[in-house]
């Protein structure tokens, strides 16, 4: 790549460092901000948060009802946080016959404090372009071959509410304790790229 002057573009490492220097010198960015922010993001905004919500919804019908009515309130109840602009968390319930899948066609928005930082495939231009129009084909290519009778619902994250999928609990895991259930819930299942029914006891 080059810019309009046809000079080679500086490496992203150099450009990122340049922005850091500018924000320190002119933006009053504290010395420790980058390290503190990165540690916080990596420790607190993890897939395990959403997984624990799902596991709790599977064992606690009252929590499940609260989570489906107001996902953000349910998440806050468990101590999880949201950035200022995420005003709502909409929880989409998978059933035997309904499969929900999330995308952001315009950029790559996700509920990252709840399901963790978006995986690369979710940010991929091929996924963003295709899943709204060829959902069944794309999911099959990704290993999820849904029966023709399954209704697919595709959710495009165009506004500042965020979505997460509440997967169907695998039958083999009925009766498991919440902590053990949380370990089988994957980020991909909370985006809708996979389902968990085949998990064995």
């Amino acid at each position: 790549m080059s810019d309009e002057s046809n000079r080679p573009i500086a490496t992203p490492e150099q450009r990122a460092d340049a922005i850091e220097i500018v924000l320190r010198r002119k933006g009053e960015m504290p010395e420790t901000f980058v390290e503190d922010f990165t540690d916080h993001a990596e420790e607190e905004w993890v897939t395990d948060n959403g997984a624990r919500m799902v596991a709790r919804a599977w064992v606690d019908p009252e929590f499940r009802a609260r989570m489906l009515a107001d996902g953000k309130a349910a998440a806050k109840e468990m101590g999880f946080e949201f950035p200022e602009h995420h005003r709502q968390l909409v929880v989409l319930e998978n059933t035997k016959d309904i499969h929900n899948v999330i995308v952001c066609t315009l950029c790559s928005c996700t509920a990252y404090t709840i399901i963790g930082a978006a995986p690369d495939w979710y940010k991929d231009i091929d996924y963003r372009a295709r899943v709204v129009r060829e959902s069944r084909t794309v999911l099959r290519e990704m290993g999820l071959d849904l029966p023709q009778t399954t209704e697919i619902r595709v959710w495009d994250t165009t506004a500042d509410h965020r979505y997460m999928v509440l997967p169907l609990q695998p039958p083999a895991t009925i009766g498991w304790p919440e902590e053990k259930l949380a370990k089988i819930v994957t980020q991909d299942a909370m985006i809708g790229a996979s389902r968990l029914e085949k998990v064995e006891g």
Binding site: M1, D3, S5, R7, I9, A10, T11, P12, Q14, R15, A16, D17, A18, I19, V22, L23, K26, G27, F33, V34, F37, A41, E42, H85, R87, V90, V103, T105, L106, C107, S108, P119, D120, W121, K123, D124, D126, Y127, R128, A129, R130, V132, R133, E134, R136, T137, V138, E141, M142, E151, I152, R153, D156, T157, T158, A159, D160, H161, D188, A193
Partner: protein, 204 residues
């Protein structure tokens, strides 16, 4: 704007690389933190940030990894907000420091209106030159309102540093075959559509 970022329904793309091949993150976490700092300082808002990404040259946008798009948007906005000059940024690196293209005018919301759950609505056939959160694949299309969201700042204004009135979005459900007749998999497509982007569907 009808930018390269508006990818939904575009054809010719290939298989999704799934699962994602692992790669080592080096400068990416730094950019994530720097962008978060600028947002927290209210140097710019999320709509301005998204619009800066949208204004990248299409070739650069498509070739750039996800966090390089963030990098370019942060740098562009720091220049536009007079935190730093382009020359000062370039002096800190070896080579070019590409920024996004210039920003045009934003717009204010449409006069207030409201839609009921269950109502059939049409997405206005609008061609907005600035920031807009209406994907092109629903433009002019008809769907059914199935939900209403909390109020958000109107992005077409807030993406242009304008005072942004608050308005709801409607969860509008479309049938894929109404969006792409004879050329799609059967599905229901849900899109969060700002109130100003919608009109009553009667009389058609």
């Amino acid at each position: 704007m009808d930018g390269i970022h508006d990818l939904g329904g575009k054809q010719g793309f290939g298989r999704v690389q799934y699962p994602s091949p692992p790669h080592e993150e080096t400068w990416e976490p730094l950019i994530r933190a720097l962008s978060a700092f600028a947002i927290r300082k209210h140097t710019y808002n999320m709509d301005e940030f998204r619009h800066a990404i949208e204004r990248m040259a299409p070739r650069h946008y498509l070739a750039a990894p996800y966090y390089e798009r963030h990098l370019t948007a942060v740098a562009t906005l720091l220049v536009e907000k007079d935190v730093v000059t382009r020359e000062e940024l370039e002096a800190l690196v070896t080579g070019a420091f590409p920024l996004a293209g210039p920003i045009g005018p934003g717009r204010l919301p449409a006069p207030p209106q409201s839609f009921a759950i269950g109502e059939t609505v049409r997405v206005k056939n609008e061609f907005v030159p600035g920031h807009v959160r209406c994907p092109a694949y629903i433009r002019g299309k008809t769907g059914v309102v199935v939900g209403v969201s909390p109020l958000y700042p109107f992005p077409d204004a807030s993406g242009h540093s304008m005072q942004a009135p608050m308005e709801p979005t409607y969860d509008v459900r479309f049938r894929s075959r109404d969006l792409w007749p004879d050329s799609c998999d059967d599905a229901l497509n849900h899109v969060g559509v700002f109130q100003s982007y919608l009109e009553k569907a009667e009389g058609r």
